[in-house]
């Protein structure tokens, strides 16, 4: 329960950061999707039911902070959490560089799903003109921010404890795979 609230509070903090603070310094294409990083982290470090519920709620949270309709990110993040879970069973997720690769793959998948949903379901095909040119910048900025988070996490992991549901860098969470 503590982990759930921690993820939700971090999600709210990230959403506020993305909508109110980052726009002051960064143009839309250069703004990282911090909630996506959180979702990938969630998929890697929490058990499936908890990751799903938290992922759905974080999706709804992101939907409330962006775009015209609720449900887009709920669905996108559900898929990302499931894919991350499947991948994490077969990958050495304790490797930081692999985590960065996962972030890159997650960014690509998220853009693909958003583009697909908006083009096919919402009839907003022009969104591809926005998504595609922004993709390299998004990849770069998400990787940079993830690297910063990883460095901070590795530095402060001792404070949080290795098995408190955080990271999965030195040791995996006790919930992982259960």
């Amino acid at each position: 329960m503590k982990g759930f609230f921690l993820f939700m509070l971090t999600g709210i903090f990230f959403a506020l950061l993305q909508s109110s603070v980052l726009p002051l310094f960064l143009s839309p294409n250069w703004r990282p999707n911090l909630i996506l990083i959180l979702i990938l982290y969630l998929g890697l470090s929490e058990n499936l039911p908890r990751a799903l519920i938290t992922g759905l709620l974080l999706g709804a949270l992101q939907d409330s902070f962006c775009g015209p309709s609720l449900g887009l990110y709920v669905s996108v993040y559900l898929v990302i959490v499931l894919v991350t879970r499947v991948l994490s069973e077969n990958l050495n997720i304790e490797s930081p560089s692999l985590l960065l690769l996962l972030i890159a793959a997650g960014t690509l998948l998220q853009n693909l799903l958003v583009g697909f949903y908006l083009t096919v379901l919402a009839d907003s095909a022009p969104v591809l003109h926005i998504l595609l040119p922004a993709l390299p910048k998004q990849l770069l900025i998400n990787i940079i921010f993830s690297a910063i988070f990883l460095v901070l996490l590795l530095r402060f992991q001792r404070l949080f404890g290795y098995r408190s549901g955080l990271a999965g860098l030195i040791y995996q969470s006790k919930h992982h795979g259960s």
Binding site: P23, P28, C66, P68, V114, L118, V127, I130, A134
Partner: protein
């Protein structure tokens, strides 16, 4: 009975203690001026300690003032520096208010031409994604806004309200991919649909033989009933015609600079 008392021992004890303190408190409320034995005992016991502490405090304070007075001077210097900073900050605020005043004057002049009541609002947030183009303003239902209300700036159309809360609203910008506005070229009255493309607009359904030139002003046509007729949307920046096809490909730059948007006006009333 004994078994029952033993089971609820803690609960009963708590209730009794709470009741006892309440009774004691209400009793003492009636005896405001009288000093009880307990109070007198405490005062008597504490007096020497208080006196000693007071003496020590006086000595320390005197030593501090007499021998470490430089710290006072440093403190005074810090206070003056702080005051200087505050005054400087106030001056900057005055300059900022002056600039804001200028922007609002332009905005009001623009809205005056509309002949429709409008409400000023501040932009307090942007979209949390990189593909959607929405902003959040600080007015909502309580201010009389409603879903679909058009939002404008001094340079032209900003968008329309799509989500509304008591004290804030989300505005879909005209550059969002899901935004489509009935538009016309001011010079030739050629009709089309202005669709958002993130940074610019594409004019759809502009007939191939229609006269559209780079630099032409694109305005709202008033069709659809959301935006009043004749509001600036943007300026044509490119026109392409394929060898075949019914329509030409036209792009326009929005009239409003969305990266520097701070104040907007929400049109609340109907046509007068």
């Amino acid at each position: 009975m004994r078994e029952l008392l033993r089971r609820y021992q803690f609960l009963l004890l708590t209730i009794i203690l709470v009741l006892a303190t309440v009774i004691l408190y209400s009793y003492n409320l009636r005896q405001k001026t009288a000093t009880t034995f307990f109070e007198r005992a405490v005062l008597t016991f504490a007096a020497p300690f208080q006196s000693s502490i007071d003496g020590i405090a006086d000595t320390v304070s005197e030593t501090w003032r007499n021998y470490l007075w430089l710290v006072d001077a440093r403190q005074r210097n810090l206070e003056l520096e702080q005051e200087n900073l505050e005054l400087h900050s106030q001056l900057q605020q005055v300059q900022e208010i002056s600039l804001q005043n200028e922007r609002l004057r332009k905005l009001l002049a623009f809205v005056d031409d509309l002949d429709r009541p409008a409400l000023p609002a501040q932009v307090i947030g942007e979209d949390a994604s990189n593909w959607a183009r929405t902003i959040i303003i600080d007015k909502g239902i309580r201010a009389g806004l409603r879903n679909g209300s058009p939002v404008v700036a001094a340079q032209g159309v900003v968008g329309r309200i799509i989500k509304i809360a008591p004290d804030s609203s989300r505005v879909l910008l005209i550059t969002d991919a899901s935004s489509a506005i009935a538009a016309l070229i001011q010079r030739t009255r050629t009709r089309g649909i202005a669709r958002g493309r993130g940074a610019d607009l594409s004019i759809e359904y502009a007939l191939r033989d229609a006269d559209i030139q780079i630099g032409d002003l694109l305005v709202t046509s008033g069709m659809g009933g959301v935006f009043p007729k004749g509001l600036p949307l943007g300026q044509i920046k490119s026109v392409e015609k394929d060898q075949f096809g019914l329509f030409q490909r036209v792009k326009a730059m929005p009239a409003v600079d969305f990266s520097h948007l701070e104040e907007v006006m929400v049109i609340v009333g109907e046509n007068q």
